[in-house]
Symmetry: C2
Subunit: 223 residues, 2 copies
DNA sequence: CGAGGAGTTGAAGCAGGTCAAGCGCTGTGG
DNA sequence: CCACAGCGCTTGACCTGCTTCAACTCCTCG
């Protein structure tokens, strides 16, 4: 990366904002276009149905970008909310265009993000469409665990869990009650240990097998 | 668009290939990186589980691009197959990088494609996670109908259906039997009419209501 | 000390899955 | 030119994974 590119990238992160847990910072249908770089904390992208039911589409972890392509949409097609306390860099999406035109290395970085996000969302579709409840859970836990590993936020086999079981249910397309029971079964079969705000993955090989998890979908990306 | 850009875009489509119905032209795990522009025909992106069950992630229709970001993945994270007879333009993915560096208007077009593909895949996740069977079906039919409309492939309320009910089931995360029954129920309630290879959407307003379909997710994109 | 959010558990019902059989078309080879 | 194999579709019967409803516990915070 050139000196100029490094400076530009750092400049993007000048305008930061703190967001309280639970706050929606993007609302579906909103036409104020804004791109966010997640500096710290977890957030979700989700949509809401008429009766209030919710489908969480994906999790954004530190380093992830939200609204990378928002310039090409008239409105946001999803909402975004803070899972815990967030620090966001707020970026004018026109600067993303500028990156694509002027800074080839940074532009490649953005394409890398895009490719990975597609793979993650594809995995989410497989979970929702074809895995039974326990496998869905295991699959999501493994996804988050690997992603945290890649950004150095991983504390051994302990996985940070800032979300509630209700959030989990809305991610996995399950009811709260069944999510709770599936979690209990994974616990009883010794695959995980649950504490207040963390889950320990006791046997990663068995979880991978149960979930048919393919870590390549997260790791096999390069610039 | 500049003359140069138009010529470059046309040049991309010089190397075309015909693919027979049913043939896989991308296989998950393959590391031969190739980008395809769908000139004619329908294709699917899908993944396969251990026991052979399949989840179709998305449909590609004429004008769509497959593997736009493949340069940043070590291997394909999905397979792709022809639904009917395809004509594909085969593009070296390095030319995509070239577009991003040299042709800003074309590059914007690619970002537009990307943004739209994200919205479509997000809708697929909502279908799979939170809609009951009939609504899933209605939602998919409306998606395809609107997308065909946008590329001028729409014959009134008749929707081309090159896929089998098995393909539909694997798209919607349902069993073949239940897909068949849901289709029959939509037929009996007068919402659709089914012929050999087409479906007529008899009452689009009611289908939209049933599926909680939001056409903005397809149409509200601009460059 | 009381209210409200998060988690847990039981009981009952149902949407959707599985198994199985049969129909009708189409293509192919004797 | 007919026979039969195979695929796509349909329907019936039964089963189960998940949902829903409801109640209760625990914890936190005011």
């Amino acid at each position: 990366m050139s000196q100029e590119e490094i400076e530009f990238l750092e400049g993007l992160q000048n305008n930061t904002v703190d967001v309280e847990p639970g706050v929606d910072f993007v609302v579906e249908g909103d036409d104020r276009k804004m791109t966010f770089i997640l500096i710290d904390g977890w957030s979700i992208r989700y949509t809401t149905l008429r009766d209030g039911r919710r489908q969480i589409l994906s999790y954004a972890l530190p380093g992830d970008i939200l609204g990378l392509h928002i310039n090409f949409a008239a409105q946001a097609t999803y909402s975004a909310a803070a899972m815990n306390a967030l620090k966001l860099a707020v970026v004018d999406p026109r600067r993303i265009l500028e990156i694509n035109q002027k800074f080839p290395i940074l532009a490649s970085g953005l394409s890398w993000c895009t490719a990975r996000e597609f793979a993650i969302l594809g995995d989410q579709a497989v979970r929702l469409g074809r895995l039974p409840a326990k496998a869905r859970l295991a699959h999501l836990l493994l996804e988050l665990w690997h992603r945290l590993e890649l950004i150095g936020h991983n504390d051994g086999k302990w996985l940070e869990m800032p979300m509630t079981q209700n959030d989990l249910a809305d991610t996995l397309g399950l009811s709260l009650v069944h999510t709770n029971r599936s979690l209990a079964e994974l616990r009883k079969s010794g695959l995980i240990t649950v504490s207040k705000s963390h889950i320990k993955l006791e046997n990663i090989a068995d979880l991978v097998h149960l979930a048919e998890f393919n870590p390549d979908h997260l790791t096999e990306f390069s610039i």
